[in-house]
């Protein structure tokens, strides 16, 4: 892991990479964490961002002087609205998520498996407290689900890109693409296909860092 020939993306870098792939006109929900940052890097296209609490058309974070205390995103952070925004109640907002109206949802995760399974809410089935939130709804409801996460765990460096998930699932077979600090991987019927990798990263290193098999172009 001491290979210095490449520099993993930081969290902003992952978000910026995702932003590149979102075309104008998409209707997008961004999960908490790295995904929330994606909108900061979509500056030259009209993309409409949705929050679970009923906001359609999230704008940039306001500066201190312009905070509206009645307006937050799904992470309860203060936001602004774009011109042309709309506000709905919680059931209507999740109707958007569950009814297939999101072109894209980007979630963080603990693990993604080559069959498209995602685990992002608990590290053990016996975990006494469970932080489900809206992830299960978004994962099954969006037209496409992308995941943004670090390729390996912080401590032991274990691969989060798995043959099978070891943690309790959020949903089965729903992930289309994973963006990590090292690579972009598509979930295909045959497994993870490498879309691209960061500069300087060798095939060998990525394979060492990845528990699942990789399909190279």
């Amino acid at each position: 892991m001491s290979d210095t020939s490449f520099k993993p993306l930081n969290r902003d870098g992952i978000a910026r990479r995702i932003a590149q792939d979102i075309p104008e006109g998409w209707f997008v929900n961004l999960g908490i964490g790295i995904p929330t940052k994606v909108s900061d890097f979509v500056t030259d296209r009209e993309v409409i961002f949705h929050a679970e609490n009923g906001v359609i058309g999230i704008g940039p974070a306001p500066d201190e002087a312009n905070i509206n205390p009645y307006l937050v995103n799904a992470g309860v952070q203060h936001i602004s609205l774009i011109t042309g925004a709309a506000l709905v109640h919680h059931a209507d907002s999740f109707a958007i998520a569950r009814g297939g109206h999101l072109d894209l949802c980007v979630l963080g995760a603990f693990e993604v498996a080559e069959n498209g399974d995602i685990a992002n809410w608990a590290r053990s089935p016996d975990e006494p407290v469970k932080q489900v939130g809206g992830a299960m709804d978004l994962a099954v409801g969006a037209k496409r689900l992308w995941v943004a996460m670090e390729h390996n765990t912080k401590g032991s460096g274990e691969s989060r890109i798995r043959t099978l998930c070891s943690y309790p699932l959020t949903a089965k077979g729903v992930v289309r693409r994973v963006y990590t600090d090292l690579a972009v991987l598509d979930v295909t019927p045959k497994g993870f296909a490498v879309v691209d990798t960061i500069p300087g990263l060798t095939r060998k290193t990525l394979e060492e860092r990845t528990e699942a098999a990789l399909i190279w172009p």
Binding site: E24, G25, F27, E46, I48, H50, I56, G57, L81, T83, G84, A85, A86, L87, V88, A91, F94, A95, I96, A97, R98, G99, G100, H101, G141
Partner: protein, 218 residues
């Protein structure tokens, strides 16, 4: 730039396939009359029409049915003395009668990702014959499935280029829920307004549910 306005009725109606399920809003006011004419003229055949008032004879539904393009009608009532009533009697039109509230809820379910639901409405009537029922909380309930539209034709009072809509007074009726339930929602609007002219808190149908908007000044 996102701009859902289309320049003509032909553009609005482009691409409707034979065999499509078409949801048409309206309850008196709020009926997308021009779009219904567009559908009648589009040449699409073998359609399933979902429209509460499909069994009335006022308005353009008569014209639409008269083309023979409608194979099946899903609605809450049919008057014997209507085009639908006569076509049904002649055996040229399939008919599915759905209680009006169940109709609205099935359409909303399609838009909201609800795959089926149990309701007491009609559970102990002949409309439930041969269908799945279940007692829940001591009430007999009937299992109902969503009504998905390939296309929805809706009406609006105001629209902006994102497709955000308002509906005037009781012209709202089925418009917001049919917009949710279809893959392709086409709105005709009396007024085209600038982005921001509709207050975010007072959008009646959010643009996420609307794919095309045709400005039809009144």
């Amino acid at each position: 730039m996102i701009d859902k306005f289309v320049p003509s009725l032909a553009d609005a109606m482009a691409g409707i396939q034979d065999g499509a399920t078409v949801l048409v809003a309206g309850f008196g006011p709020g009926t997308p009359e021009l779009l219904m004419q567009g559908l009648a003229n589009s040449g699409a055949r073998d359609l399933t029409l979902v429209m509460n008032a499909g069994g009335r004879d006022d308005g353009p539904v008569a014209e639409l049915l008269a083309t023979g393009a409608i194979r099946k009608l899903i609605c809450s009532f049919v008057r014997p003395n209507s085009v639908a009533g006569r076509q049904f009697a002649a055996g040229t039109l399939d008919l599915e009668i759905v209680p009006q509230g169940t109709l609205a809820e099935r359409i909303r379910a399609a838009g909201a990702g609800v795959q089926a639901f149990f309701t007491p409405t009609a559970a102990d009537t002949i409309l439930a014959e041969g269908r799945e029922t279940r007692v829940i909380n001591n009430r007999l309930c009937l299992l109902e499935y969503p009504i998905f539209g390939d296309v929805a034709l809706i009406d609006a009072w105001q629209a902006d280029r994102f497709g955000n809509l308002t509906h005037r007074d009781s012209a709202r009726n089925f418009n917001p829920i049919m917009a949710m339930a279809a893959k392709l929602t086409i709105a005709q609007t009396a007024h085209a307004v600038d982005l921001g002219a509709i207050q975010p808190e007072n959008v009646h149908t959010a643009g996420v549910f609307v794919q095309r908007v045709l400005h039809v000044p009144v």
